[in-house]
């Protein structure tokens, strides 16, 4: 039974999506959608409970032949890296569905729930795929529901935002497709075996030029998704014009897919190029941090401010990943989870404000503290988590990342710290303009405080923040073996490069096969 649980996890939301289309009343649809989304949530928690934290390899593996003539198989598995992203996905989808039923989405609720559940399937599939073709299929499939969610239920220039989102992402992923095809072709030439299975592909040797182009293609697709500066221009529009639930999932989960792609594919497949490119990526990450923060500061629209803050926070994540040390990468992964929770929370809160006043302009608010104290307090906690206050989850991630970056070199960390300060600056200032001071607009006098449903949505968010802030060890400990295993190839390559530099004689002593080839990921094929 346990061997099929991941397939159940992926396809159950799809089944639910189909069921959504058959329901009649609006209320029934919302309730059914939320209750149905609790099932994958429960399953993912069950998987967590059964997960073996000391094993860094894939667990709950399933493998069936799908298109044998192409070497494509339906091969899925879970490890410490994807486990928590899966949990994040199921939690956020449930919260988003719970929130949306409370009046945020008024038209065509059936189709909305259909697309949300279909999105969940796509996200889970991409996280759990071990076969590269399968990953690509889910990666593309993710786009379509999000496109509809933004384009139909969004605000403002929703159609423009939606098509921009699709085109940007699609160009990147199509170039990645070419790279995947080339990768598999090289694998077949070298191993005499046609297969899209990721563990096998880790061992393919490339010339420097080949590896650079392939890494570039993969990196482009993922960098657009993250998004890294300067490929981020789709994000502000997409996030701002999306409906609240859409923004929550977009920022909470989909952006992480880009970083996940780097960790899972781009870096382990081409470690030499990754090491070579690390300074470039860390620089771009820093630029993203500072740029995102600075632009966020001048935004008059609260939602756009949060969108740019995402660019800034994901810059931290990329900084941590390319530090290639345990602190950096673990910090980056932890920060991915943090950002999902805190920015998801921020978008929910902004959405609640929009629902009441139909505006997101900061200047339209002021002095809300007096009228909506519950809302303001929750907002404060979420904001502090986003800033990185010790005691809440954001601190752990940011600290680890900065530690990791510092171990690499001190300069970059200085810039990262500047980013933290700027982050505090724009968030606190925005909060002050919205919450504190006298009430400047008369209409704000009668603003309603949070409904029970909205409180119910925010409580788990706050809970997670506190838990993850005070007890990070469980999560970090569970992640560690998988991160270790995945980055083993990078470490081997680093060691080899260093030994080349320090003692050429020693390098010459290595057998010729070791000098030009890479060993396949040891013990990786958990069948």
């Amino acid at each position: 039974m346990s061997s099929n649980v991941l397939s159940v996890l992926i396809f159950l939301p799809l089944v639910g999506a189909g069921l959504m289309l058959m329901l009649r009343s609006e209320r029934a649809t919302w309730n059914a959608a939320f209750l149905f989304s609790l099932i994958p949530l429960a399953v993912s928690f069950w998987v967590y409970s059964q997960f073996n934290p000391s094993n860094g390899n894939y667990q709950f593996v399933e493998s069936h032949e799908w298109i044998p003539s192409m070497g494509i198989s339906y091969h899925i598995g879970l490890d410490g890296i994807s486990l928590f992203l899966v949990l994040l996905t199921t939690i956020l989808i449930s919260l988003a569905l719970l929130y949306s039923g409370g009046g945020d989405i008024t038209e065509r609720p059936r189709e909305f729930c259909f697309f949300m559940l279909m999105l969940e399937s796509g996200l889970l599939g991409a996280l759990l795929a071990v076969d590269v073709f399968l990953f690509y299929v889910f990666w593309e499939v993710m786009l379509i529901p999000m496109y509809f969610l933004i384009g139909i239920w969004g605000h403002g220039r929703k159609v423009y935002a939606a098509i921009k989102f699709v085109l940007f992402t699609m160009v990147g992923s199509l170039l990645m497709l070419v790279a995947i095809l080339y990768l598999v072709y090289s694998a077949r030439v070298h191993f005499d075996r046609l297969s899209f299975d990721l563990p096998l592909l880790y061992g393919v040797p490339f010339t420097r030029t080949e590896a650079r182009w392939l890494f570039a293609a993969f990196a482009l697709a993922f960098a657009i998704k993250v998004p890294m500066w300067p490929l981020h221009t789709w994000l502000p529009d997409a996030h701002t014009e999306a409906p609240t639930a859409g923004s929550v999932i977009l920022a909470g989960v989909m952006l992480k897919m880009g970083a996940y792609g780097f960790i899972r594919f781009a870096i382990p497949l081409f470690p030499e190029v990754a090491i070579e490119a690390a300074p470039l990526f860390m620089t771009l990450a820093i630029i993203g941090i500072i740029f995102g923060a600075l632009v966020a500061m001048i935004q008059p629209d609260l939602k756009r401010l949060v969108a740019y803050s995402s660019v800034s926070h994901l810059g931290f994540v990329m900084l941590g990943i390319f530090a290639f040390n345990p602190q950096g990468v673990e910090g980056a992964l932890y920060q991915m989870l943090n950002h999902g929770v805190s920015t998801g929370g921020l978008f929910l809160l902004v959405g609640m404000l929009y629902l009441r006043r139909h505006t997101r302009e900061i200047s339209e608010f002021g002095g809300l503290w007096h009228r909506v104290p519950v809302y303001a307090s929750i907002f404060m906690v979420v904001m502090l988590s986003s800033i990185g206050l010790p005691g809440l989850n954001g601190f752990v991630g940011e600290f680890l990342i900065m530690l990791g970056a510092f171990l690499k070199t001190g300069y970059w960390t200085a810039f990262a710290v500047a980013g933290v300060i700027l982050g505090a600056l724009y968030m606190l200032w925005a909060y002050e303009r919205v919450m504190f001071g006298p009430i400047t607009k008369a209409v704000n006098e009668t603003i309603r405080d949070l409904t029970p449903r909205e409180v119910a949505v925010m409580v788990p968010v706050i809970g997670l923040m506190i838990l993850m802030g005070f007890f990070p060890r469980t999560i970090l400990g569970t992640m560690e073996p998988s991160i270790d295993l995945t980055f083993q190839r990078v470490r081997t390559m680093q060691a080899r490069l260093e030994s080349h530099h320090s003692s050429p004689q020693l390098a010459a002593l290595l057998p010729a096969s070791q000098r030009v080839e890479m060993e396949p990921r040891t013990g990786a094929t958990a069948q």
Partner: protein, 482 residues
């Protein structure tokens, strides 16, 4: 094949006394005949050999194409059943012409030598020229027919002259011995062969609407009655590519070093021009015409890559056919009576609320044509680009992939109209109770999904089909040389 021919004549005669507005019965008769032919075609799979003294090849390649052509024809007839009567198109001539055209397509697919390809091409084309003008009272339809006929006749001249030159160069018109003659170098000289190949390329290029021979396509697709447009976009392309594959990948295969670069350039141009021009279209049939041009470009990438992509091309044709048939079916469903070529993309606005099933089906077709997983179009593109990459045509594949991204823009604009905009009701009408058309669209949608999610058996059958054609011809070349 004989069944189709006899069936066509039967339909023609049966329809003599049938009123123009009541021709549905003839349509069902045509479908029954086609179905019978389909059943007989399944018996051809797995054979390798010739009939009619080497004129027609009986191999899996023929069978594969015959099956797809017959299915496409049946879908076209299904779509026409209500349409022909409403638009007062003469039923007997209409249905029998469709069947004659299908006959021509089957001949092209099963050709054993170049003259049979020519005969099949002409049979198919002349029928389609008339079909394009079938809505006699509509000036656009007449214009489409005349344009297609004049340009088509001209290009057929090129084709024939090319065949003559090739005969002069190699001394044979049979496919297999042709390949053997080129490979063994026993021809007189290249001076006759290469121009012959070039002229052949022009002739075929016109038929598949490759750039720069594509100018006729948008006008003809737009003006012809919509079921006929579907038939042209799918059937004619199928047959033309079948002929192209037999001639270029098998017969002229040994001379590939001469023509593959030219075909590659044509492919790149076709993809790019087709996609870029489609972006600016506001008429839906014109947009689909340019999209058909672009897809011909993708297929030509496979042709340029050579014999290793044969199976991929066959599978792509299947995926492309179902999606395109469905798309035209939806266009047909919302077309206003009497306004044949005027359907605009804006007429699709708000379709998701007026007719959610139709909108959902159109979404499937648009996404498949873009190449979004897990639909048939993605599997086709993936497989085709993989084949081309494996043979070293990385540059073409990158162009192809970027073009796919561009195509997302105009395919998605259809989705935008259907789901994110309101008020197309004054430009289009969705008629109720048309089971035949609904069935056709539904079948196409399900096929697109099924072929895409579980492509293994179709890919295997496509690969098999192409190899069997190569084998048949090699066998014949060997036996004739003895």
């Amino acid at each position: 094949m004989a069944v189709v021919a006899i069936g066509a004549i039967v339909v023609l005669l049966a329809g003599v006394h049938v009123d123009d507005s009541d021709s549905d019965g003839l349509g069902w008769l045509a479908i029954a005949t086609l179905f019978l032919a389909l059943l007989l075609t399944f018996g051809i799979f797995g054979q390798t050999g010739f009939t009619f003294a080497g004129a027609i090849a009986m191999d899996s390649f023929t069978a594969y194409f015959d099956v797809v052509v017959l299915l496409a024809t049946m879908m076209t007839v299904l779509m026409s059943i209500d349409y022909a009567g409403r638009n007062r198109m003469p039923g007997a001539e209409y249905y029998s012409l469709i069947m004659f055209s299908a006959l021509g397509m089957m001949m092209m697919a099963g050709a054993g030598d170049l003259i049979v390809i020519f005969i099949g091409l002409e049979t198919m084309s002349i029928a389609v020229y008339v079909l394009a003008g079938m809505a006699r009272r509509d000036p656009k339809s007449n214009e489409a027919a005349i344009k297609y006929f004049l340009l088509g006749a001209f290009s057929t001249g090129f084709l024939l002259y090319g065949i003559a030159l090739i005969y002069g160069a190699t001394g044979t018109i049979k496919i297999g011995p042709l390949a053997a003659a080129i490979a063994s170098g026993s021809m007189n000289s290249n001076a006759l062969l290469l121009p012959g190949v070039g002229l052949l390329l022009i002739g075929f290029g016109f038929k598949v609407a490759a750039v720069p021979f594509h100018m006729w396509a948008p006008d003809v697709y737009e003006g012809a009655p919509t079921p006929v447009t579907a038939f042209m976009a799918v059937g004619v392309k199928l047959a033309a590519f079948a002929g192209l594959l037999r001639v270029f990948l098998i017969a002229l295969g040994p001379a590939a070093v001469h023509w593959s670069l030219v075909v590659a350039v044509i492919a790149a141009l076709t993809m790019t021009v087709g996609n870029l021009l489609a972006v600016v279209q506001s008429g839906i049939k014109r947009m689909l015409a340019y999209s058909a041009i672009a897809h011909a470009g993708y297929l030509l990438v496979g042709v340029a890559a050579g014999a290793g992509s044969g199976g991929a091309i066959l599978y792509y044709l299947l995926a492309y056919s179902v999606a395109n048939l469905g798309a035209f079916g939806v266009v047909l469903a919302i077309e206003r009576t009497g306004e044949i070529g005027s359907g605009k993309i804006s007429g699709l606005r708000g379709l998701s609320s007026r007719s959610p099933m139709l909108a959902a089906a159109m979404t499937v077709f648009m996404l498949s044509l873009t190449g979004v997983p897990p639909l048939a179009g993605f599997a086709g593109k993936f497989y085709l680009f993989n084949a081309a990459l494996n043979q070293g045509y990385t540059g073409l594949v990158i162009i192809g992939v970027l073009n796919s991204a561009v195509s997302a823009y105009y395919y998605f604009s259809v989705l935008v109209a259907m789901y994110m905009q309101e008020g197309g009701a004054e430009e289009s009408e969705v008629r109720r109770a048309r089971p035949a058309l609904a069935a056709a669209i539904g079948i196409a949608a399900l096929a697109t999904i099924a072929i895409g999610m579980f492509p293994q058996s179709y890919i295997a059958s496509a690969e098999n089909a192409f190899h069997s054609a190569a084998i048949t011809e090699t066998q014949r070349a060997v036996s004739l040389a003895q």
